[in-house]
Symmetry: C2
């Protein structure tokens, strides 16, 4: 790509022509094409103007997707959709994620000339890579820390999410460690609540982890939810690291990309990136962001792991969209920035084959709650069934057939496979 421009692809819906809409977008977010301001010379526009690079026409619709658009005189009643590529001169804002966002998103979502706008792709010059070092651990570092090389990292989530007594939390950690799991995480609802302050939780959890590791020889990776205000997050992180913890988790939308980049400036363990609140930015099909674009910013800012939902989850998201997110996360970027997609929600051994078939990667973290812990023969069998599910997937053997030889998988299918 041209190294001095940021390229953005928008899905646009407009009562105007796509060309006109594209020019309004380019003008609004750079030199203001449609408002004559003294001092706005042709030279200034040439140097600082955003440029419409490409327009691909898609369907037309009869009704606007979003309210508040105005129609041109003699409007034919149609709203045109298309993919519009706009490029922005990097020197307008420099390699700064916060200022990039003001430029490429900014006021665009509010324009009357648009009845729909969704940012669907994003190409950044290498200057961003020079400014933002990205994940310190990523896929390779997470594999090293967990000792898992050739299959997904398999794990679970602490439940109940809220209100667990410390001794119950310790028991859960002992149980899942003994079952052999690679990973366990706090729920995103549980960070540093007054009823169970993080320092107490870290102490209790690490005690249980070390005790279990003494017994099993394997230290489970625990993602402590350190989400909080900027300075609190630093204190939380240091608390975890000092106690020998090996992963921290943050709600990215709660701390912002700037908060994530700041954490990445001092973090010493992998950052597990939870994307709760993301639905707000993406569920309206003609508004907001596509995750395949947004995840690039999360990776630049330092997320070692990134939640992407799961196939056949309990959420609204389509499997296609989940697959696009996984593929996007494992696509190389600036020669680095490897991040591990985290597949979760209503997962079990049986969701492995479809996930692998659609993505051809085992570089995922696969989290299951009931899908592991509620296995009829216990958590160890649940964990075993997940491994077997992925083995079958990678070997291309139908799950039912593979289960003939493996009771843990067979029993998992009996329990979860009827849905």
């Amino acid at each position: 790509m041209v190294q001095d421009r940021v390229k953005v692809v928008y899905l646009v819906e407009t009562p105007y022509s796509l060309r006109r809409a594209a020019e309004v977008i380019a003008g609004e977010q750079s030199t203001g094409t449609f408002t004559a301001v003294p001092g706005e010379t042709d030279e200034l526009k040439g140097k600082h103007g955003a440029r419409v690079e490409n327009i691909v026409e898609l369907e037309t619709v009869d009704e606007p997707s979003l309210p508040g658009s105005k129609t041109p005189p003699g409007h034919d009643g149609l709203y045109r959709r298309g993919l519009v590529t706009v490029s922005f001169p990097l020197h307008n804002f420099g390699p700064s994620i916060p200022n990039l966002m003001s430029a490429i998103a900014g006021n665009l979502y509010e324009l009357q000339e648009l009845s729909g706008l969704r940012l669907v792709d994003l190409e950044l010059p290498d200057a961003f890579a020079a400014r933002y070092p990205g994940p310190k651990f990523g896929i390779e570092g997470t594999r090293r820390l967990t000792g898992v090389s050739d299959r997904p990292i398999l794990g679970t989530i602490v439940k109940p999410s809220i209100g667990l007594a410390m001794e119950d939390l310790q028991r859960i950690i002992m149980d899942v460690s003994e079952a052999g799991l690679d990973f366990i995480k706090d729920d995103e609802l549980n960070a540093n609540p007054p009823y169970a302050p993080l320092d107490l939780k870290v102490k209790s959890v690490m005690e249980a982890i070390e005790r279990a590791a003494d017994a099993t020889g394997k230290k489970i990776m625990y993602a402590f939810n350190i989400t909080g205000d900027i300075e609190e997050m630093k204190r939380n992180h240091d608390l975890v690291v000092k106690a020998g913890g090996n992963c921290v988790m943050v709600s990215i939308m709660s701390i912002g990309l700037a908060g994530l980049a700041h954490l990445n400036g001092y973090s010493e363990v992998p950052i597990h990136g939870h994307r709760n609140q993301w639905g707000m930015l993406t569920r309206s099909p003609l508004l907001g962001f596509e995750f395949s674009a947004y995840q690039k910013l999360c990776r630049l800012a330092g997320a070692d792991h990134l939640h992407v939902n799961g196939l056949n989850s309990k959420f609204y998201e389509s499997n296609d969209s989940v697959v696009r997110s996984i593929q996007a996360c494992v696509t190389p970027m600036h020669g680095g920035y490897a991040t591990m997609p985290v597949v979760s929600s209503a997962q079990w051994a049986g969701t492995a084959p479809a996930t692998y078939a659609a993505t051809s990667t085992v570089d995922v973290m696969h989290l299951a709650g009931g899908g592991i812990l509620a296995h009829p023969d216990g958590a160890a069998a649940g964990f075993e069934s997940m491994k077997l599910g992925w083995e079958a997937a990678v070997k291309g053997i139908p799950l039912e057939e593979y289960a003939e030889s493996y009771p843990a998988l067979k029993r998992a299918i009996e329990k979860y496979g009827k849905g």
Copy 2:
């Protein structure tokens, strides 16, 4: 209000009953009512469960607003809308804005049981006020610094937004200072770009401001856009303060509420809060956030000024929505947290009467670009016309009538009043 619970009102759309949808919301974001997890005792639910406090039924519709909802068996084809109030125990997350967001927004926007969800109101216990000090200047401090006591703070925006040479920027500042304006701000597209680094801009701008102040006796308030990564923002802020600057501006969505609260921890001048990118969270009517709810978090986090668009603006937003935002910003909160709503976009003297009539307040910052600078008799007359517009509004005298006695207003009406 009950001081140990956070109360949230959601606008909900669901193919289920509103009661069922409300219970799914409460369960998902606290103890998980609908999934039986070992350890989820009645005692735990009583202590940590979110509670459905109220349900107000609204209309039903034939089509879901958002994609991906599932329908119950025997669905009657209707989607029910209503206002659902849910309360959350404060001790689940404590007075932490980042963790509050994970609780009250979290995964809710992705639930299959909902075909629409919008957070429309929010009531926070005083514990938040104890944790977050809020704006240091607010309305009163901004009035003190600008010397304007009984009318809106009137100002403008540097244009062209990008690419201005330093000597042109200086000339603009001299001009608007001589015209008597109270305030001028950087465009949100212009922070610390490579072609005009902030240190150079601060130096040039302050030179012009001081020179103009020597001539006029009045030091204009200039909001320097310091938006950037967390540590860069601190450097930028310190640069502005050290040079004698009297206001900093940030794009709140770019730095996040956590970034804003961090800035507020060390800021020595008013924080001008720009809300570009906000459209993403609000333009879909059955998704995201209502600004009257979101602005409470911005005020807690320390925004002294908050952008709210303007009446009859160039954006999609309805006047009603703008009025709700202004009213929300000037409504007292926890006995403090005064923030000044910033009214902008396509503003001129003639937008004052409707703004005042709908809000009954002069505690606003009223920004106009062309509405001041392009006045046929110059910027001083433009500024004068804005003052006159507000005088007429407060006195309840029709604009045209008031203009009989004041040529600056009359000429403004001739130029801008034909739209």
